[in-house]
């Protein structure tokens, strides 16, 4: 699969992913002499950065991180490329000094250490040749502070019995918002809905498949839901109650994304 990204530092590189689920500081996070990961909190302690596609949500910590990254690159211990959800100036400047290709606006939550990746900052793409990508829309419906979740029936192809928001596959080049509205109408019968927000795609991992989830937030004037065959049950819940339900992967992150849209 191939996903869009924003080029920050030009260049192209390929390698195996090293994924840190937490924000990363090169000061204290990487050994300046060897490029080994020092910080256990980020996962991957002892792993070497050299040759890897280093993916982490965003940089944090002191501006000295720029210099550390420069030194790593100079000695050949730096990563082959950097992939962020949101680039920060410290890492971007360090990657520039070290000549390390860098992209952002990629949800690193869908990536796994060991994934084969090709990063092309000039074209603004990230490729995962061993992964199948499936594009879906997910519509969060909101009414007076509560959101709609539905339990998927045994007849659907994936995630049977799991709680989900309204979602559907994207076919070809169709308009994403239109697809979201169609899915809402089919699965709930709700019509007079108003778009309130979107967000960068969330990548939901399922083995060698990544669902590229395009989130939408709609307000609905009423709660009169009429389910079709795809779902067997529905509830209006407060967003913070989501963790009490067994949901499809990363539904919490999809909801968080539309309630706090990234830039």
């Amino acid at each position: 699969m191939r996903i869009r990204a924003r080029g920050i530092v030009a260049g192209r590189a390929s390698g195996h992913a090293l994924v840190s689920p937490a924000p990363f500081s090169f000061v204290g996070g990487a050994d300046p002499a060897t490029g080994s990961i020092l910080n256990g909190a980020t996962g991957g302690t002892g792993e070497r950065l050299a040759g890897r596609i280093f993916a982490f949500p965003t940089g944090k910590g002191s501006t000295v991180g720029s210099y550390v990254l420069y030194g790593l690159g100079k000695r050949g211990h730096g990563p082959a490329a950097i992939v962020n959800r949101r680039a920060d100036a410290v890492v971007a400047v360090g990657a520039t000094l070290a000549g390390i290709p860098m992209v952002d606006r990629v949800d690193v939550g869908g990536l796994q250490t060991g994934d084969r990746m090709v990063v092309d900052a000039g074209r603004g793409t990230v490729e995962l040749p061993d992964i199948q990508g499936k594009r879906v829309v997910t519509a969060i419906l909101r009414n007076r502070g509560r959101i709609l979740i539905v339990r998927r029936s045994e007849k659907v192809g994936t995630f049977q019995g799991k709680w989900s928001a309204i979602s559907g596959h994207i076919e070809g080049r169709e308009d994403l918002k239109h697809r979201a509205i169609v899915e809402v109408r089919e699965e709930t019968g709700l019509r007079a809905i108003t778009l309130r927000g979107t967000a960068d795609p969330v990548l939901a991992r399922d083995g060698t498949t990544i669902y590229i989830v395009h989130p939408f937030l709609f307000d609905t004037p009423n709660r009169r839901v009429r389910l079709d065959w795809e779902n067997v049950e529905h509830r209006w819940i407060r967003p913070e109650e989501l963790d009490r339900f067994e949901t499809v992967p990363r539904l919490v992150d999809v909801v968080a994304a539309v309630f706090q849209p990234s830039a």
Binding site: G7, I8, P32, S62, Y67, A89, V90, V93, T96, L97
Partner: protein, 387 residues
């Protein structure tokens, strides 16, 4: 980003450091979605104290200095010690040696030879509306708020890149819309002394990365220096307006903004919150470096009420050289006047465990940057307590 022909030439045919500098500006500009670079009249660079940037920073600066020259008047932040007095301060020779190499690298790039966090006190005073690229949060806050110049809070390497190119990405505080206030802060106190620092600390905590519009008090340039330094420490604020005082307050749109209040009780609580020490071993005056006026005032106070613990005064080389009498008075009373360094980037932790200071910025950073306990108090009170 749109580039001028000269900028494109630097990117394609400049020296290695010039090309790197252009690439840094492009990367930062891309993050901010800046449409172009705006020419600057001065730069101020952070990332100078060896205590702060260590060996990784030293390595980068020595490499970069090989073929980088600044294109506009450039000042740089304080060093980690006064290189004329380091032996008397007990600074390890290896620290002084590496600090000297950092200073030499910057000097080779053509920067001004004063190492200061207050460029605006040594003659670098951009005028109203002038675009500059400054790092050092306290100087940024002063330039934007008090002088009406325009700068974002640059990172150290980005400010250095801007110095080499003579331009910086045009976004944020360079643009009118980036200078609009986000919240009104009503201050119900007539501040004096460290109240300015306290207002800054409290407002910074509440405003975060917003842009406060203060109401209800007045202050001199010197007062606002302390307020801005504290504001930029506890918050990510790079500018404020003060009604009736700062040059852009009339242009600011305040209609419909949320309003918060700061009371005397807030200031008392903040002072308590930033005091975790009891018995101070030294009094540190700076952060930001003192002006000539402040240096002379300290000499007067110290002469009148001599303390039994050392007073270290941090100022610029220029102010120190211009005030030999004040320096002699402070030294006669057992103090030191240190130039080219400042309170929390200087090496203290090898000598002291608790520092007393009237600086809000100092009180904010000393615990983390220098592992000090802090007594945060007016200078006169400290001199009496430790007299």
């Amino acid at each position: 980003m749109r580039l001028t022909r000269a900028q494109r030439n630097l990117l394609e045919e400049g020296t290695e450091s010039q090309r790197k500098a252009m690439q840094i500006l492009l990367a930062v500009g891309r993050l901010a979605e800046a449409p172009r670079l705006v020419p600057i009249t001065s730069a101020h660079v952070s990332g100078v104290s060896y205590k702060m940037i260590g060996d990784p920073g030293l390595e980068f600066l020595e490499d970069f200095a090989r073929d980088a020259r600044v294109a506009v008047p450039t000042t740089v932040n304080p060093l980690g010690t006064d290189l004329a007095q380091w032996q008397a301060l007990g600074v390890p020779p290896s620290f002084a040696e590496k600090q000297g190499r950092i200073a030499s690298a910057y000097e080779a790039m053509g920067v001004h030879r004063s190492f200061t966090c207050t460029p605006y006190l040594i003659g670098v005073r951009p005028t109203f509306g002038e675009h500059v690229a400054w790092a050092e949060s306290s100087a940024v806050c002063f330039a934007n708020s008090v002088l009406g110049a325009r700068t974002n809070r640059e990172g150290g390497p980005a400010a250095l890149a801007a110095a080499v190119v003579g331009a910086t990405p045009d976004y944020g505080l360079h643009r009118d819309e980036g200078r609009e206030p986000t919240v009104i802060v009503k201050v119900g106190v007539e501040p004096r002394g460290i109240d300015y620092s306290l207002i800054g600390l409290v407002a910074g905590e509440r405003v975060g990365d917003g842009l406060p519009f203060f109401r209800g008090f007045r202050g001199t340039e010197g007062d606002l220096k302390w307020l801005g330094a504290a504001l930029a420490s506890s918050g990510a604020c790079s500018m404020f307006h003060l009604e009736g005082v700062t040059p852009e307050f009339r242009r600011a749109r305040v209609k419909g903004l949320k309003s918060i209040a700061i009371t005397k009780e807030d200031l008392v609580a903040a002072k308590r919150a930033h005091t975790d020490g009891t018995e101070a071993e030294m009094i540190g005056l700076g952060s930001p470096q003192l002006s000539s006026d402040e240096l002379r005032e300290v000499a007067r106070l110290v002469d009148r009420t001599p303390p039994r613990i050392p007073v270290w005064v941090f100022t610029s080389r220029i102010a120190r050289d211009a005030n030999p009498d004040a320096v002699a008075t402070i030294e006669r009373r057992g103090g030191r006047v240190l130039a080219d360094t400042c309170l929390e980037v200087t090496l203290l932790e090898h000598r002291f465990g608790t520092v007393a200071t009237p600086s809000g910025k100092g009180a904010y950073y000393l615990p983390s940057l220098s592992r000090q306990k802090v007594v945060f108090e007016e200078l006169q009170t400290l001199l009496e307590r430790y007299g």
